[in-house]
Every structure is written in structure tokens, then in C-alpha cells.
Amino acid sequence: MKKVGIELEGLQKRFGAQEVLRGVSLEIPAGEVTVIIGRSGTGKSVLLKHVMGLMRPDAGIIRVSGQDITRLGDADLRRERFRFGMVFQNAALFDSMNVYDNVAFPLREHSKLSEPQICLRVEAMLASVGLKDAGKKQANELSGGMRKRVGVARAMVRGPEFLLYDEPTTGLDPIMTAQIDALIRDTQDANPGLTSLVISHDMAATFRIADKIAMLHEGRVILEGTAETFRETDDPRVRQFVEGRLEGPIQ
């Protein structure tokens, strides 16, 4: 049996009258890449924020390595977050800082590394996302794709146990997309203890990097399994999404 990294059970969340999550249950195996797919606005980002404890669910349980984080107080929750790195959908870079300082930030906050050691680590991280010479640029001077990549570098730099990516490649050019996908896969393969959770729209990339896929639709997980499961399913909603067709049960 595989070890469970993160376990969601009956997760519910509403904003006013809008029910976004209506009982999401999902196991995210440790040491693998799990990709969540689903239409825009189905609550994928909301789901990811719950996993990090940035939002509290109305009902349901989130277990990280067996511990329910929905019951933790602020201090314990903060300790729990040491283990996470997150790439936000819109990067959420600190725009009062330059690229280098953004990526160095988690290290300066939470590691005892000296500044030269931090420098080595940050430079290496920036190089791996193809931003070798952009360290001095101010965060608000970057293109959308560059922001994304800085976000990836910042999330990875501390080498966390869990990496959450909210659409890490949306808006990147095809070559860059392939490079980031490879980075996600390589980081996973290089760290057997790592658990990656990726949100994506890109079916080709999903099939390339995922060990496990789950599709979120109308607040529930309607299918989970391997790439095979998704290629072979007859669920018309999944077929329509995977094949990107206009007509079908999802309107």
C-alpha cells in the first residue's frame, strides 16, 4: 500500500450563497505527483488554499501525514506550513522586492544559512527556472511568465516536503511550459520524500507528469486514478474535458 501524504475527507466550503466545495474526498499519495484538473471556477485554487490552511473549511477533514490541520491553532498551523511550498496562481511575488530577494526570502526567514550559502542556492534555483540573469529585476517589472517562474523558484528553494502548484504553466510559452513540467517531474524524482500537488488545465502536460490524476467538477471529485484511467473512462464529463470538446454534458 502507498503511504498517504495528504488526505481530504468530505471537504465543504461555501462563499455566501455559492457552494464551491461540496464534499471533496481525495487521497494524495506521498512521494508522487498528483494533478487536479477541472474547469475554471470549480474551486481548484480554493481547494489548494485549504490544504495549506490558508482557508478554513465549513466541514470536513484535511490530514497531513495523518494529522488533522483544520483543528490546529495559528502557531501549530504555522509550524505545519514549514513543510510546504506553494506556487500561487498569480505568483503573489512581493513587489517591494527584487527577484533575488523574493527567492531568498524563505531561506532568510527559516534557515540558518549564511548569506553566501543562500546566494549559491538562490542562483542555482533561478538558473533552473531559466532566470539566471534576472535576479536584480524588480518583481513588478517582470512578464507574467517570468513571475510564474520566480514563484516556482521561491516555493522550491527551501526543499519542502510538500509542493503545491496552482497552474504553474498557464500563460507560459510551450518551451517554457515543457521546461517547468520537467522541473516539477525532476524535482519529484530527485526527492523521494516529496509530495507534489499540481493544478493544471493542460491535459498533455498532465499526462506527462502525473502519477495520479483527479478531476474536480461541481464541487466534487468525479474521477481519480492514473493516466490510464483517464484515457479509458467513459464518463462523458471527463471525456469532454480531456478531449477539449465544445459539446457535451458540461456547458
Binding site: 495549506m52 490558508l54 504555522r78 511550498g85 503573489a92 511575488l93 526570502f105 526567514e109
Partner: protein
């Protein structure tokens, strides 16, 4: 009935808001007391609140001192007591005008900027990003700002006092016919250090108010650019009202201090 229940709901939401604000303030203050100490950010904020407000505080201070000298002269010249102009203006400045006017000027500049900056960080998820990196946003963002304003508003008030008295001196001595000796003697006779102290205490509280309300409004911003605009305006208005109302109550509390 409907109107009553709507009023009730409104009152409840205001009380809830106050409760959340107090919770925010306590969390931020506690964050400021615990390590790691954000000294670099504190200095940066002190520079922003203090040094960058110097010019507007000096301009308002000097003209306030001057206009009060002119006004006081209208009254005092009727019974030949012009030499008291300096004393009365200094008293009003140290006890009331300098703390309140400095706080209102700084509120317009700093309170609004804090709400706008933190509000933008909220809607662009930068505050979530801090949380996600296990950094306490109250400690990292709010605490240094609140501390900086609580320290720097009294300092600016002191500057206001000094330039205000200089403005008054200019009008009284150079334009009216008060002798420099009498101007100074009356101030020394009438104005106590306690008057100054009361004003300093007030201005520290004003600094706390304008920065914590600004930060709170920023932290609780929602709804994009429009939300940031709304947060900024409400922060300035709420702080302004709180400064003036708390001023009255603090004056009552501090009054015994300087009567004896």
C-alpha cells in the same frame, strides 16, 4: 419591526468589527514583542512615517503658530495683554493643536498609504504568500508599522510645537510689538513640562490609532482595486473620527495631571 431588526443587525456587525479590530491589534502588538525583531523594516517605516512627513508637519506647524498669534492678538490687544500671546499659543499648541493637527496630517499621508499598500498585498495574495511561508504577517507587516507610527507621531508633534512657537514668535515679536524678553518670560511662567507631556501621550495614542486602523483596513481588504480604494478611504475617515473623539476623552483623563 424590519427596521428594528436591520438596526440590530447593523449594531451587531459594528460590534463584531470592533472585536476583530481589537483582536488584530493585540495580535500585532504581541508579534512586535516576540522575536524575530524586524529592525530593518521598523527603521524603514520610521523613515517613511517620520522623516518623510517632516515637511508637511513643519509647514502646517509654522502657519498654525502664526495664525494663532494673529487671532490671539485680536482678543488680547483689547485689554493690552499682547505679551500673553506667546504663552497662550504655546499652551494651545502643546496641549491640543500640535498633537491633533500632526496626527490628522500624518493620517492623511501614512494611514492611507498603509491601508493601500497592505490592501494591495492582500488582494494580490502576497499576505497569503507570507502565511504560506510560515511568516506571521501580523508580525512582519503590521507590528513595525504600528510601532513606527507610535514612536514617530510624538516626535513629529514635537517638531510641530517648535516650529509653531517660532511662527508665533515671528508674528508677535516681528510684526506686533511684543518684546522678545516678555514673550519668553510669559511662556516660561505659564507653560509647564506637564503640558508637553500630556500632548506627547496623546500623540502616541494617535499614532497607534492611525497606523493600526490603516493596517487593519489593509489586512481585511477584499474586492480588487476598488476594494483597495474603499479600504483606504474608510481607514482615513475612521482614524480621523477616532483621533478627535479619543482626544476629548484623553483630555478629561489627563486634565488632573496639569491642574495641580
Amino acid at each position: 419591526m424590519n427596521a428594528v431588526s436591520r438596526l440590530g443587525a447593523r449594531i451587531i456587525s459594528v460590534v463584531e468589527g470592533v472585536g476583530r479590530y481589537v483582536g488584530f491589534l493585540l495580535r500585532s502588538l504581541r508579534g512586535g514583542l516576540l522575536p524575530p525583531y524586524r529592525v530593518r523594516i521598523l527603521f524603514k517605516q520610521m523613515h517613511f512615517v517620520g522623516v518623510e512627513s517632516l515637511l508637511i508637519v513643519m509647514v502646517t506647524g509654522i502657519f498654525t503658530g502664526m495664525v494663532f498669534a494673529v487671532q490671539a492678538n485680536i482678543g488680547f490687544s483689547r485689554f493690552g495683554a499682547e505679551s500673553l500671546i506667546g504663552a497662550i499659543v504655546t499652551l494651545s499648541l502643546t496641549r491640543e493643536l500640535a498633537p491633533v493637527l500632526t496626527a490628522l496630517m500624518v493620517n492623511g499621508r501614512v494611514g492611507s498609504a498603509m491601508a493601500a499598500e497592505l490592501g494591495t498585498m492582500r488582494v494580490t495574495e502576497q499576505i497569503d504568500a507570507l502565511d504560506s511561508m510560515a511568516v506571521d504577517a501580523h508580525q512582519y507587516l503590521a507590528a513595525p508599522r504600528i510601532l513606527a507610527a507610535t514612536l514617530m507621531v510624538p516626535a513629529l508633534t514635537m517638531v510641530f510645537n517648535v516650529v509653531g512657537v517660532i511662527g508665533c514668535w515671528y508674528v508677535a515679536v516681528k510684526q506686533l510689538s511684543v518684546t522678545p524678553g516678555a514673550f519668553q518670560a510669559r511662556i516660561e511662567w505659564w507653560v509647564d513640562p506637564d503640558d508637553l507631556l500630556g500632548g506627547m501621550i496623546k500623540s502616541a495614542v494617535f499614532g497607534l490609532i492611525l497606523s493600526s486602523v490603516g493596517c487593519y483596513k489593509g489586512f481585511t481588504t477584499s474586492g480588487g482595486a476598488e476594494g483597495v480604494g474603499r479600504a483606504t478611504t474608510t481607514a482615513v475617515v475612521i482614524s480621523g473620527v477616532l483621533i478627535l473623539t479619543s482626544d476629548y476623552f484623553m483630555t478629561l483623563i489627563l486634565a488632573p495631571l496639569s491642574v495641580g
